[in-house]
Symmetry: C2
Subunit: 410 residues, 2 copies
Amino acid sequence: MPDRHLLDVAYGRAHADAIIANGKLVNVLTGEVYPADVAIAAGRVAAVGDVSAQRGPRTEIIDAQGRFLTPGLIDGHVHIECSKLSVTMFSDLVSRYGTTSAISGLDQILVSAGIAGVEEFLAETENGPMRVWWGAPAKAPYTVPESNVGHRFAVAEHAIAQQMPECVGLWETVQEFVEFGDEEVLTAMDMAERNRLRAFGCAPLVDARRIAGYAASGVALCHESYSPAEELEKLRNGIDIIIRESTAAPMLRENIKLVTELGAPSHRVGFCTDDVTATDVLGRGHLDYVVRLAIECGVSPVVAIQMATINTARMYRLDDRIGAIAPGRFADILLVDSLEDFRPQTVITGGRIVARDGKSLSAPVAPARSAAIGETFRLAAVDPDRIKVTAAGRTATVQTIVLSKDVAFK
Amino acid sequence: MPDRHLLDVAYGRAHADAIIANGKLVNVLTGEVYPADVAIAAGRVAAVGDVSAQRGPRTEIIDAQGRFLTPGLIDGHVHIECSKLSVTMFSDLVSRYGTTSAISGLDQILVSAGIAGVEEFLAETENGPMRVWWGAPAKAPYTVPESNVGHRFAVAEHAIAQQMPECVGLWETVQEFVEFGDEEVLTAMDMAERNRLRAFGCAPLVDARRIAGYAASGVALCHESYSPAEELEKLRNGIDIIIRESTAAPMLRENIKLVTELGAPSHRVGFCTDDVTATDVLGRGHLDYVVRLAIECGVSPVVAIQMATINTARMYRLDDRIGAIAPGRFADILLVDSLEDFRPQTVITGGRIVARDGKSLSAPVAPARSAAIGETFRLAAVDPDRIKVTAAGRTATVQTIVLSKDVAFK
């Protein structure tokens, strides 16, 4: 971890690459707000406070003009592919609204193109403004019954995936797999423990008995709850909560009552958008909208910002790298005019300004992509014989999929 | 992680090994106190609340008789060897007072007998009532200037130590090593990052500049602060705080003001005893005394208990195993009559009662020890020539060590 240039700047022995001056720090680590400058080196925060010792002739000065400085926002669980955008375009879109990190399973690229596809996807994010932290799916596909996919991911590939430095744990460890003892999933969980990784959950609409069983398996957090009472039971059992506000399941207004009405400790609660369409993001914002919504529901601005930053970072054990404006963390920083009406005016990632007033400073560049991830949809020609339903008489029984009008998982 | 018997009991498909009935749960995960029974399987908590489904004909029932149930206490930083007791006797002593886990560097056995000595030491703890979680010293000895020791521990052995499942991170990553760029320590830290481990600190009496530098290196926590202001600066920079109340440095009364006066978030604060003599423990208790002292200083009982349990577990990333009475965690549980006058009446570790009313239920058994750890003090015979000071005249200048009357590190 310790980058030597970063250490030199942090200890005041070398000049910073950049300094953000004249800002008011929202210190999510303590809940305080106070004036502080930020010295940046090697893309990370080197020092916060009085950084005059770090100011040199070649130090770039970013003038915050009295604005608040907050950490970049973290999406605690998002299927990037569901936006129908490439990761390059998704990153360009949501970073304008202040999202600088996302935890994602990349399960749709995984079931199409395998680990090589995931690696190519992750490489594509390298130069973009948003960091992607990969949770390797406990197995994929993780549908019950199992879908037909181009590439199946389970135990053998976990041995590779869990060694990848980008891997932060197991993603979508579906409750039913744990409850019914799916050997592939339990083996991946055993392996994760040996690799010092934890499992992240997916346990919608579970009762106390299932929550106990699920918690006993070691699952660390869950983004799938359908009431504040269900959330509280999970918290009581040691499972952290990520409140979802997605296109399909906009649940924050109800589920934030965990904190505003049931009085649960806010530091164990984060936010995610799970599945969002590009039009939703363009229309109202991304996690910045979720922060505003939480504030509208009665959460104090600093606590809402903590939920969108440090809390999520801590539950994923990424708090040494993201989630706060503090030495050693990536310099992913937002300048905002108002904490009550939370709208990132300037977005900085890795110490570089990437967006201002909702616009990217540079147009995204389409990367070269390999055939492996570009040509995965191999459907034979469809002729009427392939889809016809044969009926003996004038009626027939067919299996259908019915979308619930109520909740995503009912 | 998921023990299959534990899962069966947690999901209510099998009977518990034991149930603690009629207790009032102190749920450190939410800060709530409410009646709840605890089902235990395979030495771990399986379910908490209504566990009637887990009660079978062979389930042992432990009647809490209305007492409070709290997690076993965690010593966040302790040199076990400094007590002058073997780990067997230390474990027997402090567990009577409710200490069921300790994070320790075992640096004194390490500099005597190497990793083999550490392994033998850890094996000796296996059957005792207290768990030892090992932080491998960033290097050992970590004195400046370096002491003469029987065994020197640095980079080459870190490659082995950091792979050991017992290893939870780097211990005593002394600030001066980071500030002055000790290559052995920085290399061990680089290695730790690759092994998904973090460095734990030792940064006494540091100013804002050094705190920034130290935090930039990625150090996660520090037990060495000499004022609430120094603690707050560390918290602001992303370093969690462990307040020490040791025989040599009883600092809680002053340093707890971090929470009671400066208003810092308590969930980032833990406790440790660092160096304690056996007589101190016998006279007043161990971490239970620290909890009582914190309460006396104005901390609410539940928050004080959180500081002695879940907070420390979380900062060491052990919260999936210890620090709370929740499914999956070791069944290390205390029964106490009063939260205000916190004195463990019954101590349970791994689901077994090990002490009651301050007395162990079974006498500790001295293990067989190898010559490697028993015969490490190899001093040649001392004759007057080895210690004489030669002076040309009637006076001479000699180097001495002076113990400060003020603080341990001045």
